[in-house]
């Protein structure tokens, strides 16, 4: 009877699943109902996603291959097998991406009078003059051409930079001057397309109604002979490499792997090139040199039909004017329970408050910390910060609070991928202001999002807590869909205090009231919750799980879900990204439905619903169902206790499950398909939430901030 739910064939490889996700992003760019610039944006996101994927995931897999690491993943694939499969799928993806760009979007842009010139040969006389002028004035001074010959070795080509490679030949010298024998010698030279200059350069159009632009590399290519004056440029082509440069081992792999790699490190060249992108028509000889010098394998060369590195399209998206080609900008709405200018603590005392970003504004969270920093009753502010925006008002408030004599403890996670430098700068700022800054925990990333304000009131110490699913980042809060709750629930307040005590290096509390923490208790809590539904199903009671997250790739959880499904639990998953679970396996996952919503906003919230035989339980948190979230990060899962908020969140889930515009369903064959819309009312969950938030928000009668100058009290 006992069925083994961990068989590899029940699982999808996570990298391939991720590529499917990127495919869904690309799909948005192919959606004709979406305004043009939005579609360009999705093309750009597809590219930047893919870059990050290569740098982190593919690099890790390469490391594994080098380390001769033979362990198979949950889908039963070795690292080598995965790389082969990834390569094939990536090529398909890139092919589709450029097809979309070249065949659909470029003509559409033309129709909208936007021209991007990607071959300088197409320039008119005036344009040529402009471009040459621009080159001499702005570009030439920052270029560093580098030739390669016997005395000058191949230079270091930086990761992710765009470069132009050229083949040169010494110009025919005047008779009698040069030695004849050198004539045929061909030299290689490379120049980096400077990152400090904008990639797209607007140039004058023949018709003033039109917008014409040229790519920077084209300007350089056109003028490349000016860089190598004594040479004749035989050909010049752009190329771009991706390196396994930072040597960070992705944490999702086992610790024994780390050791393995460390052993290998010394023997291996630094910064191995893992991908080379070149223009399709590149000169064979030039490519040969690049390939040899960069030591890149044949299968890692991508011949691109179009401009390299489409991330520049994000800049196009931000182009002035052209508003008709973009979605109408959405302004996050006010949260009805919180009136700007009022004391936020009093409002929280009236009851728990749910925030749904970006439909609702992130301002209350900023305001929460700001008010705490100047409120005379506030004793302490404690907060975890993971990824913070550059000029964060939260950081300013925290520093202010410390200067006002409050005790401020901030846990800063330095290990947040790609953000390290950024984090260190403001962490130092906070320290200078007198905050107690904790720089993460050894071996664990702190991914939880929690802020605690301790306030001394008439009746005693009162704690106010904000718990969220998203980072304390006011910029991303406009793009990521997240939920947050303000509460002064005593049990949660106590737990929040305990969380910070624990993060400051004190012993863990003897017991927890409401919060569940990873890496210690979260996994078993989820398992318990899933198994409880399984039990109810086995007892012939209705059982239902709805879970929304970014990624699902934890073997244990998936196996538990299979078991639940097999027992008859209805399982509806809303997984934006990676999903290693397969649907529709007979006897295993027939009761599981997986959908992915890819829309204008990045789906980011984590919500977990359990029917629990009528005693419905709802949780939210910072953790995905991924091994790294459950085992190697500090995460917080919190229950939704307020009945009203429970209803709101259930409604959220209902709307997302009913989404038939932006949702893709995972089919049995492993592909995602959009839902058949025939005969259905069209629903886009994100659109619905926008409209609902507008309806709910009280019309702003007051101006956001009080127009009274109140001298800051020094406490």
């Amino acid at each position: 009877m006992e069925k083994d739910f961990t068989r590899p064939e029940f699982y999808e490889n996570r990298e391939l699943s991720w590529l499917k996700f990127n495919g869904r992003v690309l799909n948005e760019a192919r959606d004709k109902s979406i305004p043009l610039l939005e579609r360009l944006k999705f093309i750009s996101i597809t590219s930047s996603n893919l870059d990050e994927f290569y740098m982190v995931r593919v690099a890790s897999l390469k490391d594994m291959v080098h380390a001769n690491y033979k362990k198979r993943d949950i889908a039963g694939m070795t690292a080598g097998e995965q790389l082969t499969a990834i390569n094939e799928k990536t090529r398909e993806l890139v092919e589709l991406q450029y097809n979309t760009y070249n065949r659909s979007l470029v003509p559409l842009m033309k129709a909208e009078n936007i021209t991007v010139i990607d071959a300088f040969e197409d320039l008119s006389k005036e344009q040529e003059a402009f471009v040459d002028r621009y080159f001499e004035d702005s570009v030439y001074p920052v270029l560093t051409p580098m030739a390669v010959d016997a005395s000058r070795p191949f230079p270091l080509i930086r990761n992710k930079t765009l470069n132009i490679a050229a083949l040169l030949k010494k110009k025919e010298q005047k008779a009698g001057m040069g030695a004849k024998g050198e004539k045929d010698e061909i030299e290689f030279a490379t120049v980096q397309v400077p990152g400090v200059l904008p990639r797209i350069v607007p140039i004058p159009s023949r018709d003033p109604q039109k917008k014409t632009m040229i790519l920077l590399e084209q300007i350089i290519e056109k003028n490349i002979d000016k860089l190598f004056l004594n040479y004749e440029v035989l050909c010049a082509y752009p190329y771009r490499i991706m390196r396994n440069a930072d040597l960070t081992i992705d944490e999702d792999e086992a610790a024994d792997l780390l050791k393995e790699i460390q052993k290998q490190l010394k023997m291996r060249q630094w910064g191995e090139v893992i991908r080379l992108e070149v223009e399709k028509g590149i000169d064979a000889k030039l490519l040969h040199i690049l390939k040899a010098e960069l030591k890149v394998a044949e299968q890692d060369i991508f011949k691109i039909h179009g401009p390299l590195d489409l991330t520049f399209l994000m800049k196009m998206y931000g182009m002035e004017g052209m508003d008709h080609l973009r979605n109408k900008p959405y302004t996050p709405q006010r949260v009805p329970e919180i009136t700007p200018g009022e004391n936020i603590f009093d409002e929280i005392k009236n009851g728990d408050i749910l925030l749904h970003h970006p439909y609702q504004t992130f301002d209350p969270v900023v305001e929460f910390i700001r008010q705490a920093s100047v409120d005379p009753g506030v004793l302490a502010i404690k907060q975890t910060l993971y990824r913070v925006s550059g000029n964060s008002p939260i950081i300013a408030s925290l520093a202010q609070a410390a200067e006002n004599g409050k005790q401020v403890s901030v846990l800063v996670e330095l290990k947040a991928r790609f953000d390290e430098e950024n984090n260190i700068v403001w962490a130092k700022k906070l320290e200078q202001a007198g905050c107690h800054v904790i720089y993460g925990l050894v071996g664990l990333k702190t991914h939880s999002k929690i802020a605690l304000v301790v306030r001394r009131e008439e009746e005693g110490i009162q704690r106010y807590v904000h718990l969220g699913t998203g980072n304390y980042n006011d910029s991303t809060a406009k793009l990521y869909t997240d939920c947050g709750i303000f509460t002064c629930n005593e049990a949660i307040g106590e737990d929040a205090t305990a969380v910070f005590n624990m993060l400051s290096g004190y012993s863990e509390p003897l017991s927890w009231n409401q919060l569940v923490l990873a890496p210690l208790w979260l996994r078993s809590k989820f398992m318990k919750l899933i198994r409880r539904e399984t039990k109810h199903a086995k007892d012939k009671k209705p059982a239902h799980i709805i879970a929304k997250m970014n990624s699902l790739c934890d073997e244990g959880i998936i196996a538990a879900l299979y078991e639940a499904s097999a027992a008859g639990v209805k399982i509806q998953l809303i997984v934006r990204g990676i999903c290693c679970l397969k649907t529709g396996i007979p006897g295993v996952s027939e009761n599981i439905e997986v959908r992915s919503i890819v829309g204008n906003f990045l789906e980011h919230g984590r919500i977990f619903y359990f029917y629990n035989d009528g005693e419905e339980e709802l949780y939210m948190g910072s953790a995905d169902w991924m091994p790294r979230n459950l085992d190697r990060r500090v995460e917080i899962l919190f229950p939704v206790l307020d009945e009203g908020i429970k209803e709101s969140i259930k409604h959220m889930l209902d709307v997302e499950l009913a989404d038939n515009l932006k949702a893709h369903l995972l089919k049995e064959d492993g592909n995602y398909e959009k839902i058949d819309k025939r005969g259905k009312v069209l629903i886009s969950s994100q659109q619905t939430f926008c409209e609902e938030a507008v309806k709910k928000a009280v019309k702003p009668e007051q101006i956001y901030k009080e127009r009274v100058f109140i001298p800051a009290e020094h406490i």
Partner: protein, 510 residues
């Protein structure tokens, strides 16, 4: 603000903690925060006899952090106590000095009886407690440095005994010597059971123990596992034992996993478990209660009580008196005489309030001295006073500080012997205590003289101060020639101390 913030800092043998309380007039004390850090001071103290600088460093650092935490909560007052771990460290004074210099904190080292009294207070304030001790209860206070067993019968303290079986201490002594967990468990069990048997045969006597009340780390976790819906109620001893039994043959990791202590890195859970198991097995209680409090709660309660912020619900003086009576009974002191003496000395004490200037607490000490003054005769009739002194010093009376116990012992000693001049005792007593002892022993001596024959001949005694005389009026039918004669020989001492002459007025009743 209508409330008071208080911080209780406790330096234990393996953990340093601070508990922040909110004490308000009406409502009870509320725990606001509880912060603990593991610093195994006992590792050095119990094996090397003094605490090394690394640990002192860590201790001071943590205490300095506690200072910041207190500042953060705007704490109005704090008490910082340390117990056996510093008592057992040879460098106690230097450590305290370093703490004072580096952190500004005044740490007080508690004697065992003070320590036990404070943690006892934390449970005594609970309602359930009164009911349980009426039916007979044993309180086990298990800690790193030792364990304390206090037996209650019919609401009174029967005895309290300190056993040097601390978890940390045992771990230091045993864990390195045993090759595996099973052997280790077995050794602890043997140690504990042996001590418990002695305890039972000597002290438990006929007292019936229905409840086992346990204070100590991990007990709440265990009890919560035994009874899924444990709601501050008791669990069945049999169930409890059955649960612990399942840990037999389990690895430490499995035990930790089961109890949800995944990231605790040490084996202290094992000695704790073995102590709980042996107690449950041997003491014969039907139910186990884990009130989930610890010494920090007691410290706060103690503080609140001293500062009149908390109403006293439990009569702790009654506990002390009852413990003293049990002690005196154990050494077969004659009860009617003791009762008469207590009554008499209290009468004199109360009458002379303005003369001696002592307070309520000293009155209690006088009562104790009266109750215990004869216990040494059990050992030697001739050397009674010395033996009494030794017995008192060696017996724990829950609720007395070490100094108070010393005062009682000296009062008893100089009830009979001549009180030496202060200079001779200056190395043992401070000035104030010396005076207290002198006054109490003088009163005791006069009172004692009035029942010299141990026949309680005096009835309806009254006392009053008239000019320079303390007039004791008595009604009696008996011949009191002996008392009268002795009385006069005992009053010199009294006169010397109080500059007042006690006189007996007889009122013959026919």
């Amino acid at each position: 603000m209508k409330f008071h913030m208080f911080a209780a800092i406790y330096i234990g043998s393996y953990e340093v903690s601070i508990k922040i309380f909110e004490i308000s007039g009406k409502s009870r004390m509320k725990e606001v925060d509880y912060i603990r850090r593991r610093i195994e001071l006992g590792r050095d103290a119990y094996s090397k006899g003094s605490i090394g600088y690394e640990l002192v460093e860590a201790l001071c650092e943590t205490l300095a952090e506690f200072n910041i935490i207190m500042e953060g909560y705007k704490v109005d007052a704090y008490e910082a106590y340390a117990a056996s771990v510093l008592r057992d460290a040879g460098n106690e004074l230097f450590i305290l000095d370093q703490i004072k210099i580096r952190t500004g904190l005044n740490v007080r080292v508690l004697s065992n009886s003070e320590h036990r009294f404070i943690s006892y207070k934390s449970i005594a304030i609970r309602e359930e407690f009164e009911k349980m001790i009426q039916k007979g209860a044993a309180v086990l206070d298990a800690g790193g440095g030792g364990m304390q067993i206090t037996i209650f019968s019919k609401g009174d303290v029967v005895t309290t005994q300190h056993l040097a079986l601390g978890t940390m201490r045992m771990r230091e002594q045993l864990s390195k010597k045993s090759s595996n967990l099973e052997q280790y468990e077995h050794q602890i069990e043997e140690l504990v059971v042996k001590e418990l048997e002695v305890f039972k045969s000597i002290f438990l006597g006929s007292a019936k123990v229905r409840y086992l009340i346990i204070i100590g780390d991990y007990i709440s976790e265990i009890v919560r596992k035994v009874e899924k819906n444990y709601d501050e109620n008791t669990v069945d001893t049999q169930k409890f034992l059955k649960y612990l039994h399942r840990f037999n043959k389990q690895t430490l990791e499995e035990i930790m996993e089961e109890l949800n202590l995944v990231n605790e890195s040490d084996a202290l859970i094992v000695p704790y478990m073995m102590i709980f198991k042996c107690m449950a097995d041997n003491i014969g209680a039907e139910k186990i209660w884990a009130p989930g409090v610890n010494i920090s709660d007691g410290i706060a309660y103690d503080y609140a009580e001293k500062n009149n912020m908390q109403k006293i619900t439990h009569d702790f003086e009654a506990d002390i008196l009852s413990a003293a009576r049990n002690l005196s009974e154990r050494y077969k002191s004659y009860t009617p005489h003791i009762d008469a003496l207590v009554q008499m000395s209290c009468l004199l004490f109360d009458t002379m309030k303005k003369i001696h200037g002592l307070g309520k607490r000293e009155r209690l000490l006088l009562q104790l001295s009266a109750i215990l003054h004869d216990c040494g005769k059990y050992i030697s009739l001739a050397n009674g006073p010395y033996c009494s002194y030794e017995i008192i010093m060696a017996s724990e009376i829950i609720g007395l500080t070490h100094l108070e116990r010393e005062i009682v012992a000296y009062t008893v000693l100089y009830n009979t012997l001549r009180l030496p001049v202060y200079e001779e005792l200056a190395d043992q007593l401070n000035h104030e205590s010396y005076l207290t002892i002198a006054k109490l022993s003088a009163i005791l001596r006069v009172s004692n003289a009035m029942d010299r024959s141990h026949k309680q001949k005096f009835k309806n005694v009254r006392a009053a101060i008239k000019g320079k005389e303390l007039v004791i009026t008595i009604e009696t039918l008996d011949d009191i020639a002996l008392e009268k004669a002795l009385f006069n020989s005992k009053t010199a001492y009294f006169e010397n101390i109080f500059s007042m002459k006690p006189v007996i007025r007889e009122k013959r009743v026919y």
